[in-house]
Symmetry: C2
Subunit: 360 residues, 2 copies
């Protein structure tokens, strides 16, 4: 199973919106077939492994990081293939959280007389596809909010200067986060202030990442409720898909890669729930919010988040600097939102803090 997980990880930057899955077929203590799912529309991991195993699959054990599928999607069900090729035992790391599968694959195998179990190295398997699992289990993508600040919570000087608070290693780690995300969301404030590209720049990724040729570019989502942005900004010059979200029609003519999406208002602003629902509809598994204090605060206040990832630089910007998140003014300490440190680690000269809900 450890080998199957290793194989699965090879697909993690390219299988969107599918999960990354690996499969190893073992016969008499010997590996006879291996495979992983490389990209949506291409064969699943089991198919590659079965092809390699050939007749040796008869009576063999298949280790697969996710329950074999039971439904006809873009490819026929893998459970059927395993049955047809005579595998006698299937060990899955986890049951597929996809409601279309959800145990049906295991049952299909068992009904065909195959010993089928799940749960081996489940935590490791879940860690490979957190976004897919979140979307399948809750109906919305995994939402991570990335923040960067000095230790006193400054994100920009009083005059707006903010480059660079964090060091190159932290910025490379943010490139990794983008690469892991199906969509990256930012707001008009940040775009007007920093004129960012919001894309993944392979040359700036951490050196340990092996980027496959068919890696998936995250959808860039720009929240521009008041329609303040114009097509000349840098991020619109890059011909990768952009979703421009507003609650009103745009005054501009946008190039073909910019999809103008109009959503409902909530308290006079674009309803963030609607954007998130739209992204779920578009099969986006995980979303990275990279924005200024207002939009980040709005996602937090709306409860639309799973992880806060804070890059903290060993600097002090002073109390005249701009704050990290805009939240409503609290009148007692008990109203202040509480989190839990899930992970704390050094990234170059900086720290990366991962926070989750206090009750999780």
């Amino acid at each position: 199973m450890a080998r199957a997980l290793e194989l699965a990880r090879r697909g993690q930057y390219s299988t969107h919106p599918n999960p990354a899955v690996g499969c190893v077929i073992v016969k008499d203590g010997e590996v006879v077939g291996e495979g992983f799912h490389p990209k949506a529309g291409e064969p699943h991991a089991e198919v590659f492994a079965l092809r390699q195993a050939g007749y040796k699959a008869i009576g063999a054990t298949a280790y697969v990081t996710l329950e074999p599928c039971s439904h006809y999607g873009r490819t026929p069900p893998c459970a059927e293939a395993l049955i047809n090729l005579g595998v006698s035992r299937v060990v899955a790391a986890m049951v597929d959280p996809n409601p279309q599968v959800a145990g049906r694959g295991m049952r299909m195998l068992q009904e065909a007389g195959i010993k089928a179990q799940s749960g081996l190295m489940e935590a490791e398997s879940r860690a490979i596809n957190p976004g897919f699992i979140k979307r399948m289990e809750s109906g919305r993508p995994l939402i991570r909010i990335k923040l960067a600040a000095s230790i006193d919570g400054g994100t920009a000087l009083a005059n707006g200067q903010s480059q660079w608070i964090t060091g190159p290693e932290a910025r490379a780690d943010v490139q990794r986060l983008r690469l892991e995300s199906g969509a990256v969301i930012t707001g008009a404030d940040s775009v007007l202030m920093d004129n960012p590209s919001m894309n993944v720049r392979p040359s700036q990724l951490p050196t340990h990442i092996e980027l496959p040729d068919n890696w998936h570019h995250p959808l860039r989502v720009v929240v521009d409720g008041q329609g303040r942005l114009s097509p000349d900004l840098k991020l619109f010059q890059i011909e990768q898909p952009i979703l421009l979200a507003s609650h009103q029609p745009s005054r501009h003519n946008w190039p073909a890669h910019v999809d103008c999406w109009q959503g409902p208002k909530l308290s006079d602003k674009l309803d963030l729930n609607a954007i998130v629902a739209e992204l779920a509809e578009r099969q986006v598994n995980s979303v990275l919010v990279e924005s200024g204090a207002r939009l980040a605060g709005a996602f937090i206040a709306a409860g639309l988040w799973d992880e806060l990832i804070v890059y903290q630089a060993p600097k002090m910007m002073g109390d005249s600097s701009r704050g990290l998140v805009h939240l409503p003014e609290f009148s007692t300490m008990s109203e202040v939102p509480e989190f839990k440190f899930k992970d704390v680690r050094r990234v170059g000269q900086d720290l990366r803090l991962t926070l989750v809900r206090a009750e999780s």
Copy 2:
């Protein structure tokens, strides 16, 4: 030497202004004498160890965590005692940074024909007396600035509420910091806002600390340049020494344990350099600054600090909260002070970050 360091640590909360020192005398592979310095005015570690060893000290090796003293202070020089009692070898963890000693003890031993070396487990020994070493080497106490904030750098809500940002373990750790300090400094702002006691409360110390009966109460120092404080405040009710520092005479009648000290002005405020020099004069080895954003910022801006100790709670207080430190407004990111994370660890639900100068 490891045992001698263990013994030294027993004195760390009571030897002020002296360093904590331990000594072990070994003869033919057997410990024949042990001792540590318990309190200023009482015998040094070597004397206790020699007393226990008696005639067995003849031809023995003495392991001592700090170079034996060579001068007549409140007690006669330990180097002399070691010579007189016939010890044949002395191993010191470090040379005494006290300019009155500074190698003279080792030399005195060598001139008497004793094999005397230093440098064994030096880093461990230095870690026991950081304040003493700092004062001896630089002429001023070690200054640690304690700060507590949410991850977005908030220290109080807009209405001033601030209790409690951090959890009980972090607050217990602050009690430990106070206990380790010769003086604790706060400012009139904090006293007026929180009405604190600023004392060490043994019942609130971390449970692993064994407090000796003769523990040293840190001198409480209150910076009140404008003379805004009055004797009815809580900290003045506790009859332990207080230094009330101002640049003008006080209008109040203060109880005997409050020492009103008047210092010079610098840019219309009490000169912090003068306070620090006064504390060095009073043989204070280490100072803990526990104050609001203004005084903490003033110490940082004046370069009067060695460590910033930031307790960070997994909370977000929003951009309307009060900031961690007041610093001059910067116009470019290159002016922003940069530090280095020396230590990062979890304390209960919170984090404790220790920062030092970037170039150190």
